[in-house]
């Protein structure tokens, strides 16, 4: 019997996860399929956050602005300029990259607590801007994208993104692409440099690495993935509102990543899924569901101090990427 190398094992595992998610499209009851579609889109947000926080060690409290940049980049161009979905999605990505580049360039001059505060402030500015330009964004109330605008054109046909099965499959496609990109990235030399910068920045500088440029690149890629999630959210679920730019959407990806396991490729998915179902289940039994959520989180921290996947990797499966 030939022994599988860690690299083949991890690729097989990731392909397996995507195939399992594909099968779930046909197996899950309608309600849960809807939840999973949402989780898949938001897991992309968490994966983008994980690239900055988990792998590079940049604790940002402002990632809602990257998600919202994608959300508004796609939503506003569809709503006001009547763009079709492809270019609108592209506008969302571009908005995310531009915001990440600008914020990264300024915020990366700081580290640690100052970095947290600076990113938090920038995100707050972004949030307030979505309220200030309420003529265009309709603020908290938000915009609902009409169903007829949410169709994805292909040569030879169109896909109706409001159809549950299509929505699920499109969400899964985006998830799979980003998962593959992250997996490739963290195994490539560039990913190793990011981890090393997290571990010992000064040493990396004295090995000849441009630490600032590497971190900026990580923030921009992170912003790109988060914006992809936001833009997909707009076109798949048809709603664009200020709530997504608010502080809780900066905290949520941090929470999802911590629960699932920072600096693991599958942790963000597991964390997002877990938190969704804990909140969903708890709130169907009691109005005090946040108390239950708090207790569950304490349990997770006690038994999985490095997050679910992080602890599995530490105890049983050291080859997990």
């Amino acid at each position: 019997m030939t022994r599988l190398t860690p690299s083949t094992k991890s690729i097989a595992l990731h392909v397996g996860v995507v195939l399992l998610l594909l099968a779930l499209n046909f197996l899950l009851p309608e309600y849960h399929r809807g939840v999973f579609a949402r989780v898949l889109v938001l897991a992309v947000f968490a994966m983008g956050y994980n690239l900055a926080f988990g792998y590079t060690g940049l604790l940002s409290l402002g990632h809602a602005m990257f998600f919202a940049a994608g959300l508004y980049g796609a939503g506003l161009t569809i709503y006001h300029l009547e763009w079709s979905v492809w270019p609108a999605f592209g506008a969302g990505l571009a908005a995310g990259v531009v915001v990440a580049l600008a914020v990264g360039f300024l915020a990366l001059r700081t580290t640690g607590v100052a970095f947290m505060i600076v990113t938090l402030m920038f995100a707050q500015v972004f949030y307030l801007m979505t309220l200030y330009f309420t003529t265009y964004t309709r603020g908290e109330e938000g915009l609902v994208l009409p169903q007829e605008t949410r169709v994805l054109g292909f040569p030879g046909g169109v896909l109706d993104l409001s159809d549950p099965s299509t929505r699920y499959l499109v969400a899964l496609s985006l998830f799979a692409i980003v998962l593959a990109a992250i997996l490739f990235l963290v195994r490539a030399p560039y990913g190793r440099s990011l981890i090393a910068i997290r571990e010992n920045e000064e040493r990396m500088r004295m090995l000849g690495y441009d630490v600032f440029a590497n971190k900026l690149m990580a923030v921009v890629l992170s912003g790109l993935f988060c914006a992809a999630s936001g833009a997909a959210y707009a076109v798949l679920f048809g709603y664009v509102g200020s709530g997504f730019a608010a502080i809780q959407y900066s905290i949520l990806p941090l929470l999802w990543v911590l629960v699932g396991g920072a600096a693991t490729t599958l942790g963000p998915l597991i964390g997002t899924l877990f938190m969704f179902y804990v909140i969903d289940t708890a709130s169907s039994y009691t109005t005090a569901h946040l108390m239950v959520v708090g207790l569950v989180l304490i349990g997770v921290i006690l038994f999985f101090p490095k997050g679910i996947i992080g602890t599995v990797r530490e105890r049983w499966l050291p080859w997990l990427p």
Partner: protein, 246 residues
């Protein structure tokens, strides 16, 4: 003596921390190929001086010239790529990574710039293993750096410096905390490195200094007190006073 072009020069190089002149107008010249030791009492400004050379600390005045080019304003990472490698006084390896991965990070950076060889996993392995073998850590490649003995971590630190293929290797108190037998191996290692690269060594252990240095610079209170061959330094009155307080 043939006029050898200096690899490194400093002109009036100085650094103040508040009112303290840690390095005070130092003119220094290091010919290519030399193994040079900097000694001096604690707080003499030795580490600050080499930090100014490798760019970890910005100078308040003066210039650093490396290989004929003024690098005073060059950021540290570019100086490393220009050929100045620095090994830390306080061991600074990546404790969670294996010894090989530590060295691979240095090799990787070096290969990115080396367009002839290019960054391939074969070249990475080859050069990484090579650097580890040079310092005698060939058998420890797969061990996690944090679990290595202190002496081995110091050697790993040097291997990372070597993997950068520097023209100037700065070793900041490399034998601190090593046992006598480890020091002996270390002297042999630095001698070997000295055949290919210029070495600037900060060291307290006089046996090591006398065994390795072709020339010695003595620093005191941020200034150069004396400079010369080991025998001259040994006989120098001012040096004896600085060290023995006589």
């Amino acid at each position: 003596m043939a006029a050898v072009k200096p690899l490194l020069e400093t002109h009036g190089l100085g650094r103040s921390f508040g009112g303290l002149r840690a390095v005070d107008g130092v003119d220094f010249s290091l010919p290519e190929g030399e193994t040079h030791a900097i000694i001096g009492p604690n707080g003499a400004g030795k580490t600050t001086f080499v930090s100014l050379i490798c760019g970890r600390v910005a100078p308040t005045d003066g210039r650093v010239v490396f290989d004929g080019k003024d690098i005073s304003l060059m950021p540290a990472h570019k100086r490393v790529r220009a050929g100045i490698a620095y090994t830390f006084q306080i061991t600074s390896v990546f404790a969670n990574l294996t010894a090989f991965d530590n060295v691979a990070l240095a090799v990787q950076r070096q290969l990115i710039d080396d367009h002839e060889r290019g960054l391939s996993s074969r070249a990475l392995t080859e050069h990484g293993v090579d650097a580890l073998q040079k310092v005698g850590l060939g058998d420890h490649a797969d061990k996690v750096a944090g679990n290595l003995s202190y002496g081995h971590q110091r050697l790993l630190e040097v291997a990372m410096g070597l993997a950068l293929r520097p023209r100037l290797l700065i070793l900041d108190e490399p034998t601190q905390g090593l046992s006598d037998s480890e020091i002996e191996n270390f002297i042999a290692l630095v001698r070997q490195i000295g055949e290919e690269a210029t070495v600037l060594l900060i060291e307290h252990n006089m046996d090591v200094v006398m065994a390795l240095a072709e020339r010695i610079t003595v620093m005191e209170q941020g200034r150069i007190l004396a400079q010369g061959a080991p025998a001259e330094i040994r006989a120098n009155q001012a040096v004896q006073q600085a060290y023995l307080g006589g």
